[in-house]
């Protein structure tokens, strides 16, 4: 089975539209949704509600910048300073065109930074490209996962 995509998004409309976009891109990966920074961290560290989840890191994290409780930059910082998580690809998905956010994200080691376009078709295209690149094509660095589920027998 493919590694899941972790989507961290608090706005229900953005969440729905992103899910539609991911759907349209026909990725087979499971999409795990976290609604704020704390939930994202809980998932990544298998804490709280996610205590019982199967081990393993997501293929890619789509991370909104502005989040309740713990914001996207803090989550990114935490991922990059955690030995077992630091090589997971993170894509900032945000409304912000602010230079400062961009700079800060790259300083924290983001893999890509996508300003959500107003045009929905463009958004679908962007999500699709990202999904294909990070979830399917990109080979994560060796040793970054402790567990690799064998591909399902066809």
């Amino acid at each position: 089975m493919l590694k899941p995509i972790l989507l961290v998004e608090d706005n229900p409309n953005d969440l729905e539209l992103t899910l539609v976009a991911l759907d349209k891109s026909q990725l087979a990966n499971e999409v795990i949704v976290a609604r704020d920074g704390q939930e994202a961290i809980d998932y990544l560290t298998s804490e709280g509600e996610w205590k019982e989840r199967a081990p393993g890191n997501p293929a890619v994290i789509l991370l909104d910048l502005k989040l309740p409780k713990i914001d996207g930059l803090e989550v990114l910082d935490m991922i990059r300073s955690n030995a077992s998580l630091k090589s997971v690809p993170v894509v900032m998905l945000t409304s912000s065109r602010e230079e400062q956010d961009l700079i800060r994200s790259y300083e924290l080691g983001v893999n890509a930074y996508v300003v959500k376009p107003v045009e929905f078709a463009e958004f679908v295209e962007a999500i699709s490209d990202l999904g294909v690149f990070w979830a399917v094509l990109n080979e994560p660095p060796p040793g970054s996962t402790r567990f690799r589920r064998p591909p399902p027998a066809q």
């Binding site: 706005n11 409309n13 539209l17 912000s96 700079i103 107003v118 958004f123």
Partner: protein, 790 residues
């Protein structure tokens, strides 16, 4: 009080050694031993001459009225020799009654420096049978009692006859309008009272010269009116003495001094200080000087104003002349009254002048307060600026800008002067002879011979300067103003008193103390104004920073909060059209499409607005930019985007400039795509891009033959979201030219446009030939971080 009187006399020891010589031996020795007259005259201890003029007698008494010293001529009055008198009680000379009167005066009254008139006393001199009537005065100085005796006036009560004279004078003084009038009245009155052949009144000027203001004389005396006597004619210690003892008399220039015996006061161990003694013997130099002037008797009365020796009333006579005590007292009183009146007149004149200056100053201050800056304020009232310092010219030097008013040296000279002032002076500074301090001023004596400099900031070379022209002054000296050295090397008084003209050059009118003080006041007020302005600016800057921060926060939240709902409308609308479009009526589909278009347009507006705000805040990254290459690449881009229209491009020679390449590209792209857009309706579009150099800036123009615009709206063109066309005609949010202006302004350039409706337009921007990195520095840290992801 001057040092010479209160300290132990310098020559005390020397006097003891020379006690067998003439009474003024010490004075003479000092006079002869050095070369320059004025210097050794200054050193002569004239208050301890060791003797008196022989027309009277002098006794120095101990507290118990025993005789300590006598003038040697006293022998002629008594039957006893000097040796017998010394140590004897006073009765021996004055008799019991006389001694008792002295004792009473010494004990009861607060006896001090001023000689007290005891009254007449009749004595029978040893040389004759006739009784001699003597006026008796006593004073106490330097711890000793000094009794002086002079031949009494013939009339019994001389004071009575003096009174009307003095009263007339007092009334005249009050009526006298000016110092000059007072002086003329005084010399007339003094001559009337004393009967001297010539009475002059002179004042001392700043250089110490005596200037004869008024004179009353017998026709047989030469006139010195309006002439000058050099400062060295009255040496320094004489001036100090004249301050203390207000009246001096030389009764007969050819006198042989009567020595004080012994030469040293046995109680004090010092020669007796005769500062306040009427009979004090004069310096031989002074007597020689008098003889040279043809004067046999002289008297002078001090005029003391504000504690300073202001001038003298000087009386001369061709014959020896004894002036009795009561006349001297009358003249001395007259001198006092005159002094007070002069002081009052001068102070009133000074007060009036000061208050006129103050009024001018307050007009200057209010002018400065009313205007944007103080320089503009001063320029608005040039007359007041000049009259404030009674000047013909003034200069305001502020922030390296020189403003000249009236007659001044050229700007470069003024600037050079401020450099010199900044290094060599501090605070309010003035001179009446600038060239003496700063030689380059020699060439500008006609305008800037004197200068008053008022610095208006502590750090910068900011000055207010006032100039005064050279004031050529002709001084009529009473004889050549140099004391001549005599053949044997001793200093000799001058012998010539015939008028001798000197032209004094290189000086302006003097700066008065009050002028300097009020200049300092003006400086204080100015500093307050400058300081207040600086504070206001600082406040404004703080306010601006705060507003900027708010704007930043605002645009940040717009970026997130306003964009998100627009995106959602567009997203859901697209989904709706995708899933339900087939089933919708044409009308519903049109509604939905309009909705989506509006949402997208709103999104673009928000994005444009954010770009615009970022353009103002983002740091400039200046680098060399070839505008030619930049324009070519932009033209290629728009050609590719263009829908195959034929456009004739005319691209002239474009300069290389320094600027932020990305920003400049955006600006040029805006202008060129505007030209393309607004020529859309033309069959053959022509777009020219050209550059010219004008002074220290390049001007770049983009000309098109498109729809143009009405110049009436020209001013609106570069505003945010300003559009001159309907959306159906030409698309756009109206942010493009606002971006151009902002980019160009951040490069210290300007933007403007010319156009005519239907006949095309030219859009211009200018860039400085030399880029000034004023804005670029603020974003230095950002430059580094942007490289990280670039």
């Amino acid at each position: 009080m001057s040092e010479s009187a209160s300290e132990p006399p310098i020559g005390a020891r020397a006097v003891r050694e020379a006690s067998q010589g003439p009474p003024d031996a010490e004075a003479r020795r000092r006079t002869l031993s050095s070369g320059v007259a004025s210097q050794d005259c200054d050193a002569e201890p004239i208050h301890i001459p060791g003797g008196i003029q022989p027309h009277g007698f002098l006794l120095v008494l101990s507290d118990d009225l025993h005789i300590l010293q006598v003038s040697e001529n006293l022998v002629s009055l008594t039957n006893a020799g000097v040796d017998e008198l010394l140590g004897a009680p006073l009765d021996v000379v004055l008799g019991a009654a006389g001694a008792q009167r002295i004792g009473q005066a010494a004990a009861t009254s607060a006896l001090d420096d001023a000689p007290l008139y005891i009254g007449p006393i009749d004595l029978a001199p040893s040389s004759s049978d006739k009784a001699l009537r003597l006026d008796l005065t006593i004073h106490r100085h330097d711890g000793t009692l000094i009794v002086e005796m002079e031949t009494a006036a013939a009339t019994g009560d001389a004071f009575a006859s003096m009174y009307p004279l003095v009263r007339t004078f007092a009334r005249g003084l009050q009526e006298g309008g000016s110092v000059q009038a007072l002086a003329e009245l005084a010399v007339r009155e003094v001559r009337a009272i004393t009967g001297f052949g010539r009475v002059m009144l002179y004042s001392f000027d700043e250089e110490g010269r005596s200037h004869v203001l008024a004179e009353d004389r017998d026709a047989s005396y030469p006139s010195f009116l309006h002439q000058f006597f050099p400062a060295s004619d009255i040496p320094r210690q004489a001036r100090a003495l004249y301050l203390k003892n207000r009246i001096r008399l030389v009764a007969d220039v050819d006198y042989t001094p009567a020595r004080l015996v012994p030469s040293v006061n046995p109680v004090t161990g010092r020669p007796t200080d005769l500062t306040f003694a009427t009979l004090r013997s004069f310096s031989p130099v002074h007597l020689e000087y008098m003889r040279n002037m043809g004067t046999h008797a002289s008297m002078s009365v001090s005029i003391v104003v504000r504690g300073q020796l202001w001038g003298l009333i000087s009386c001369h006579d061709h014959s020896a002349r004894i002036v009795p005590f009561n006349t001297r007292v009358a003249v001395e009183h007259l001198g006092h009254m005159l002094s007070l009146q002069i002081e009052a007149k001068e102070e009133r004149a000074e007060g009036e002048y000061l208050s006129a200056l103050r009024r001018t100053m307050s007009r200057l201050i209010s002018a400065m307060g009313e205007h944007e800056n103080f320089v503009a304020g001063l320029r608005a009232v040039p007359g007041d600026v000049l009259s404030f310092a009674r000047s013909a010219g003034a200069a305001i030097v502020f922030d390296d800008q020189v403003t000249l008013l009236g007659a001044t040296p050229d700007e470069d000279t003024v600037r050079a002067l401020t450099h010199w002032l900044a290094e060599n002076t501090s605070g309010v500074w003035a001179t009446d002879s600038l060239a003496r301090e700063w030689p380059p001023a020699k060439a500008h004596a006609d305008k800037a011979c004197g200068v008053l400099a008022v610095p208006v900031s502590q750090i910068f070379r900011n000055y207010l300067l006032w100039f005064r022209p050279e004031l050529m002054q002709t001084i009529e000296w009473a004889g050549e103003p140099v004391k001549i050295e005599s053949a044997d090397g001793s200093s000799a008084p001058r012998t010539s008193f015939s008028p001798w003209l000197e032209t004094v050059r290189g000086h302006s009118a003097l700066w008065r103390q009050s002028e300097l003080e009020i200049a300092a006041e003006l400086r204080g007020a100015l500093l307050n104004i400058v300081l207040r302005r600086a504070e206001e600016r600082a406040e404004l800057a703080t306010e601006l920073t705060r507003a900027n921060k708010e704007l930043e926060a605002f645009s940040y939240s717009v970026s997130h909060d306003l964009r998100a709902p627009l995106r959602h409308i567009a997203g859901y609308g697209d989904l709706l059209r995708e899933q339900e479009g087939e089933r919708m009526s044409d009308k519903s589909r049109r509604f939905l499409n309009n909705m989506l278009e509006s949402a997208r347009f709103a999104g673009t507006l928000v994005d444009d607005l954010l770009t615009f705000s970022q353009m103002g805040r983002a740091a400039l990254r200046p680098a060399p930019v070839d505008l030619g290459l930049l324009v070519k690449s932009v033209v290629q881009e728009v050609e590719v985007e263009g829908s195959g229209r034929s456009i004739e491009w005319v691209i002239g020679d474009l300069p290389r400039v320094t600027g932020d390449a990305a920003f400049l590209q955006l600006a040029v792209r805006n202008l060129i795509s505007n030209a393309v857009k607004y020529t859309r309706t033309r069959e053959s579009a022509k777009i020219e891009i050209f550059a010219t150099r004008s002074g220290d800036e390049y001007v770049i123009g983009v000309r098109d033959n498109g729809v143009g615009f009405d110049m009436k709206y020209g001013a609106k063109l570069f505003g945010v979201f300003q559009r001159l066309h309907r959306a159906e005609e030409f698309e756009g949010t109206g942010i493009g030219l606002a971006n151009v202006r902002r980019i160009i302004e951040r490069h210290d350039g300007r933007t403007w446009a010319e156009g005519r409706l239907g006949e095309g337009a030219v859009f211009y921007f200018s860039l400085p030939v030399t880029f000034r990195n004023a804005n670029g520095t603020q974003g230095a840290p950002n430059t580094k971080s942007r490289k990280n992801h670039a």
